[in-house]
Symmetry: C2
DNA sequence: TTGAAAGCGCTAACAT
DNA sequence: ATGTTAGCGCTTTCAA
């Protein structure tokens, strides 16, 4: 069944034209007589010819391909992002090559492969890289943007959101609710997002004279977060509030609290997440969280990439988008002045938006 | 910063060898003196040379790329699958190009693009195609496997699971629990999975003399399933059991039942899903469902693809994997003979496994 | 073991 | 508007 591949030469022969006429017939903006194109297209149809885009890429030096590097798709935040970015690129006539970074030193192993593939741009979803690696790729002159991870190097574009303010809001808000045993469920240690959210959170607490009551690591994943929650609440006087570095862990925490500890959320424990994944809004968890503007993040990142690819804007940018508190039912309502409290929240929100 | 691309010729010049020596130095199984390779590699390092894999593909006629076509990543079932398949291909030294099928006539729009890219195989995740389309691609001699969709054409490999038996089990089990107003929440109309699950379900009901009490369409997505549930339960004598064509919709149904209708699951309504996505096992829903063997499905599909690519096995196959009932807490326990009932379940399970 | 030469399928000058 | 020609960067005979 495997038929020998048919080339433009074969089509040319059948159509009785030159090979370049065939080439021209398949490019949108070519100067070719309508009659010729008709002939060519008909011959092509008969032979089942399709232009070989590899050959095309070789000569035009443009693969029209973007590499997307992800770490895991467990968190819907990233699968949503991937789908959105993918559709965007597709619509721009680009192909998308997907790479997964292995857990150990993820970046190094894929980067060589990516460079060889001659992709025109690279989009990294939450991949941690050090400045040496950043410099290496920047030096290759290939447009690069990293989403949701800060790298300490200017020559690379970054888009993320205001993790620090988000963390700050969480700490401040939880304490304003009257909680005093407020714990932190951390994400991936040393990831920039975790560092920033944690720092903001601690500061938000410190500014009202509260200490972080306990802290455990959940690595941004559901299973680890369940274990971390168990450790956090094994105590005889467990926390009465919990800020989780992402929604997936917050949901894990709520599930564990309710079903293993028999604790009520928010009555016994208030829980706040980060991201605002679709599930956060499902009534089963109704999670109070900090919304990252996914849509906007993808838009900014893809536009940035395209601008660099098309040489419209060579400069790298570091974009920080505002996060928005989404008040739902995993945090208790302020006991005394519910009205006043809402206003306060709203203020805090605006200041976090800047 | 954009440095001109360095070619093997440049490296050859610097290393004082021929261009073909450079080429050989970068291929694993080449006959080249260790000394020469050293020189070449050093020169390459100095210049920052990376072999251009597009040029390589052109001459070797192998792109080492697989296309994966998906419809949406909203359902974790598919994002999990994508990630697993992706890692597998990567580990085999293949690249993965990701395509999303637009909702309207998804297949036709991407297929031409895929063929032009000279991919060596195509993996379709739940993409519906008709036999004419199947024949067209099969005719191109490019290895093709479709997961979770049946196409009425032999020349294409398919791997799916036993949807009919799964549906049958659901109908049978629900009725065995004593339910008599059993409804069906359908997936994408005309998708083969929905057709098969529905047919099995209806038969399972019919075999014990029960009719399907009501039916609505949820299109395999959360939001639509919420609406469908509302329609289903707006009745004055609503259903007392619900079989949903996938887990995502089952979860939507449970959420809607509990939080909008104030109904208890499983006390007022038993719910069964299909897929066994990770969330199904979370205690918040603890969903009784039919497990599709994702891991195995991916393994079979990828192996099939690889076998065809490597010409080990040219034949196309239609693989149907067994589904496994996962008894959790979204279905009520049998009132009278819980022990006996479990055995019955276990029997049914085995028969569904075949 | 190495180098010279041919050419993968296409695009892009250039000439007609 | 069309054909001729020269490569894109590499792999792969074929001689040496």
């Amino acid at each position: 069944m495997k038929r020998k591949s048919v080339t433009s030469r074969d089509v040319a022969k059948l159509a009785g034209v030159s090979q370049s006429a065939v080439s021209r017939s398949f490019s949108a903006d070519a100067k070719v007589a309508e009659k010729t194109r008709k002939k060519v297209l008909e011959a092509a149809r008969q032979l089942g010819y399709r232009p070989n885009s590899i050959a095309r890429s070789l000569i035009t030096r443009s693969s029209r391909t973007i590499a997307v590097v992800a770490y895991s798709l467990e968190n819907p935040f990233y699968s949503v992002m991937l789908e959105k970015a993918s559709r965007y690129f597709q619509q721009q006539g680009y192909h998308l090559q997907l790479f997964f970074a292995p857990s150990d030193n993820g970046f190094a192993t894929v980067i060589d492969d990516i460079i060889r593939s001659q992709v025109e741009g690279v989009l990294m979803l939450a991949i941690t890289m050090d400045s040496a690696q950043a410099e290496e790729v920047a030096d290759f002159g290939i447009p690069f943007v990293v989403i949701n991870r800060t790298v300490n190097f200017d020559g690379i574009s970054q888009v993320g959101s205001d993790n620090y303010s988000g963390g700050y809001w969480a700490g401040h808000y939880l304490s304003s609710l009257g909680h005093r045993r407020i714990a932190y469920l951390a994400g991936l240690p040393d990831s920039s997002t975790d560092l920033q959210r944690q720092a903001g959170f601690l500061k938000g607490l410190a500014d009202v004279g509260v200490d972080c009551y306990a802290m455990e690591v959940g690595n941004y994943c559901y299973a680890d977060a369940c274990h971390a929650t168990r450790r956090l609440f094994a105590n005889s006087t467990p926390p009465d509030a919990l800020f989780c570095a992402n929604d997936l862990m917050a949901i894990a925490a709520i599930d564990t609290l309710r079903h293993e500890f028999g604790l009520a959320v928010p009555d016994d424990v208030s829980v706040i997440g980060f991201d605002d994944i679709p599930m956060a809004d499902w009534p089963s968890h109704s999670l109070t969280t900090l919304k990252q503007p996914v849509e906007l993040m993808v838009l900014k990142a893809t536009e940035l990439l395209m601008a660099q690819i098309n040489q419209i804007d060579i400069n790298t940018e570091h974009i920080m988008l505002p996060v928005t508190p989404m008040l739902r039912n995993s945090t208790r309502r302020s006991a005394r002045h519910p009205k006043e409290n809402l206003e306060e929240v709203s203020d805090t929100h605006h200041s976090s938006v800047r």
